[in-house]
C-alpha cells in the first residue's frame, strides 16, 4: 500500500525547502572574503602613496603563495577531517619533497638550466614525480608505523608526529648536510610579464595556474567520483561508512599518502619560489599551514583554499605595509576568523 498520502500531513514539506537569501549569503561569505581583502589592501596601498601596479604585483605574489600553501595544507586538512588525526609532522613531507626535488633538478642540471621551456619541463616533471613518490612512500610508512598505533589519542599523536618531524630533519641533515642548498630557476621560469606598469613574475603566474588546476582536480575527484564520495562521507561519519561495508582504513591510508605527496609537491614549488632550501623549511612553513587549516576549517578543501589565499594575500600585503607585524597580522586574521566562525570558515558537518 502506498504511503504517498500519509507523508503529506505532519511533514511540513508542502513548501520545498530551499536555501533562503540569508543562508546563501552565509555560505558565500567565506569566498567573498578574498576579493574583500584585496580591495581593502588596494585602498590601504593607494592611501599609503603607492600605485595600482604595486597592488597588482603584491596580489599576484599573494595568490601564488596562497595556492602553494593550499597544496601543502590540503593533505593535512583532509587527513584530519577524515581520520581525526593531527599530523604535526606534515612539514617533514614538505621538506623531503623539496630536498628530493632539488636533488633531481641538480642531477638533470643541463636540462634544467637550458633556455628551452620543454627541456626545463623534462627536468621538472621527473623532479616533481620523484619528490611525490618518495613522500608518498614515506607517507605510507608513516601512516602504518607512526600514526596507526595512536589512532584516537590526540595527545600522543601530537607528540609522536612531532618526534617524527625531528627525526626526519635529523636524517636529512645526516644525508645532505646542514648547508643551505641553492637552486636557481631557469630563465623560462624567471622574469616577469609586463602588464601596463605592473611587473608580474612569470613563476608566480605559472604556480597559481598549477595550484588552481590541482584544486580543480581535487574538487572534481571529491564531487564526481566514488572515491571522493567515500572521502566526503567518511569526513562526516567514518563509522557509518564502515557500517555500510567499506574498509575505511584503506581509504585513510590512501588519503594520507596523497596528502603527503601533495605536501612534497608544495615543497618543490616553494623551493623554486625561494630558490634555496634548508632543513627547516617544513617546520617554518608548518606554522602558516596550521593557520591556513584552522582558518579554513578542518576537513574542508574549499575552506583550505580560501584560507590559504587569505593567508598568502595577507602576508604579502602586510609584508609591504607593515613588515614587522606580518606574522602577527596573520595571527590576528586567524583570531578574527575564529571569533566569527569558531569551526573555521567552511566547517564540515560532523555527523557523529
Amino acid at each position: 500500500m502506498s504511503l504517498a498520502n500519509n507523508t503529506g500531513g505532519a511533514d511540513q514539506t508542502v513548501v520545498l525547502p530551499g536555501p533562503g537569501a540569508r543562508e546563501r549569503l552565509g555560505r558565500a561569505a567565506p569566498y567573498l572574503s578574498v576579493p574583500l581583502l584585496a580591495l581593502v589592501a588596494l585602498v590601504l596601498i593607494l592611501a599609503q602613496g603607492s600605485s595600482v601596479p604595486t597592488w597588482v604585483t603584491l596580489t599576484v605574489a599573494g595568490l601564488a603563495m596562497g595556492v602553494m600553501l593550499f597544496i601543502m595544507a590540503s593533505g593535512l586538512t583532509l587527513v584530519f577531517g577524515l581520520m581525526d588525526v593531527l599530523n604535526f609532522g606534515h612539514g617533514a613531507f614538505i621538506t623531503v619533497g623539496a630536498y628530493v626535488g632539488v636533488t633531481v633538478l641538480i642531477w638533470l642540471g643541463s636540462a634544467f638550466a637550458a633556455d628551452n621551456v620543454w627541456l626545463n619541463l623534462l627536468a621538472i616533471v621527473p623532479a616533481i614525480a620523484a619528490a611525490m613518490a618518495v613522500a608518498g612512500l614515506g607517507g605510507w610508512f608513516f601512516e602504518r608505523s607512526v600514526v596507526a598505533p595512536v589512532y584516537g589519542a590526540h595527545l600522543k599523536q601530537i607528540l609522536v608526529t612531532m618526534g617524527a618531524l625531528i627525526v626526519t630533519e635529523q636524517l636529512l641533515l645526516a644525508i645532505w648536510g646542514p648547508e643551505r642548498i641553492p637552486i636557481n630557476r631557469p630563465d623560462a621560469l624567471s622574469g616577469a610579464f609586463l602588464v601596463g606598469d605592473a611587473a608580474i613574475e612569470r613563476y608566480r603566474v605559472y604556480a597559481t595556474v598549477l595550484g588552481l588546476a590541482i584544486f580543480g582536480a581535487m574538487a572534481y575527484v571529491l564531487r564526481r567520483t566514488r572515491v571522493g564520495l567515500l572521502v566526503r562521507a567518511g569526513v562526516e561519519n567514518g563509522e557509518m561508512v564502515q557500517a555500510m561495508g567499506y574498509r575505511v582504513r584503506v581509504l585513510f591510508a590512501g588519503v594520507f599518502i596523497v596528502g603527503s605527496a601533495l605536501a612534497a609537491l608544495g615543497g618543490v614549488m616553494w623551493a623554486l619560489y625561494d630558490e634555496v632550501i634548508t632543513v627547516h623549511i617544513g617546520q617554518n612553513l608548518m606554522i602558516m599551514v596550521f593557520i591556513v587549516v584552522i582558518i579554513g576549517g578542518l576537513g574542508s578543501v574549499e575552506g583550505c583554499l580560501v584560507g590559504a589565499l587569505l593567508v598568502g594575500l595577507m602576508t604579502n600585503y602586510t609584508g609591504f605595509l607593515t613588515p614587522t607585524l606580518s606574522l602577527g597580522s596573520t595571527i590576528l586574521l586567524m583570531v578574527v576568523v575564529l571569533m566569527w566562525r569558531p569551526q573555521g570558515l567552511i566547517a564540515v558537518n560532523k555527523g557523529h
Binding site: M1, L3, T13, R226, L229, A233, M244, G351
Partner: protein
Amino acid sequence: MSETALLSLEGVHTHIGRYHILQGVDLVVPRGGVTVLLGRNGAGKTTTMRTIMGLWQASAGQIHFDGRPIESLPTPEIAKAGIAFVPENMGIFAGLTVKENMVLAARGGRFDQARLDWILTLFPALRRFWALSAGNLSGGQKQMLAIARAVIEPRRLLLIDEPSKGLAPAIVGALTQAFSELIADGETTILLVEQNLHMAQCLGRSVAVMDEGRIVHAGMMADLAADRDLQGRLLGLSLEPTP
C-alpha cells in the same frame, strides 16, 4: 544453537573505557519477522547493537550470524556478511545528496532499478528530494533515508535503533507500515530497539527485555502482551492492547 536462529549472542561482555556495560548478554534472534529489544534508558540496548556491528569490540563472549562467528570481525566485514545498521542518530550524510547517500549504499554504486522503485514508492519524499542535500530533510524523512539505505541491497538482518525517536505519530505509523512491508518477503529479519511500545507490539513477534547489561526476559511478544504483571515488573508500564 537452534537452526531457526539467525543471530545469537552468548555471554557477550562489552567494556567501554572503565565501564562494564554489557555483562553477559545471551540473545537469540530467530529467522524472519521482527524481534524487539526493550529496556530502560541505559540498559545497554544501543551498546548491544554496536557490539553486534563490531563498532565496539566485545571483551568476552561469542556472536554467531547464520552459524558464522562474527565477534572479532571488523565492521565492514560484518556489513558485507549481510547485516545493515540504522543507528539512533540515523547516520545519514548531511553534506551529500539523497542520491549520493543511496549510491554509497548500493553495491558497486549501481541500483537494482526495480528494488529502488519499490523503495521510493514506500518513501516518496526521497524521490522528491533526490538531488537535494540530505541535510535539508526533516527528521522523519532522514529516518526514511536511513532505512532506505539499509535495504537498497537485500539484507538478511537489519539492526534498527529507536527509529521512532522524536518523530510525529503519523510518521511513526508510516514507518511501522514500511517495516511490515520490508519483512513481508520473509527474507529479511529485523532486530528493533524501540521505546515506542505500541510500535513494538505491532511489529514484534519475539521480544527480549534488557536491564543493566543483561537480558532479563525473552519470549514471544504475544505472551508478554497478555501478561500485565510481567509487563509491570519488567518495564514499569503496560503495553496497551492492540487496537
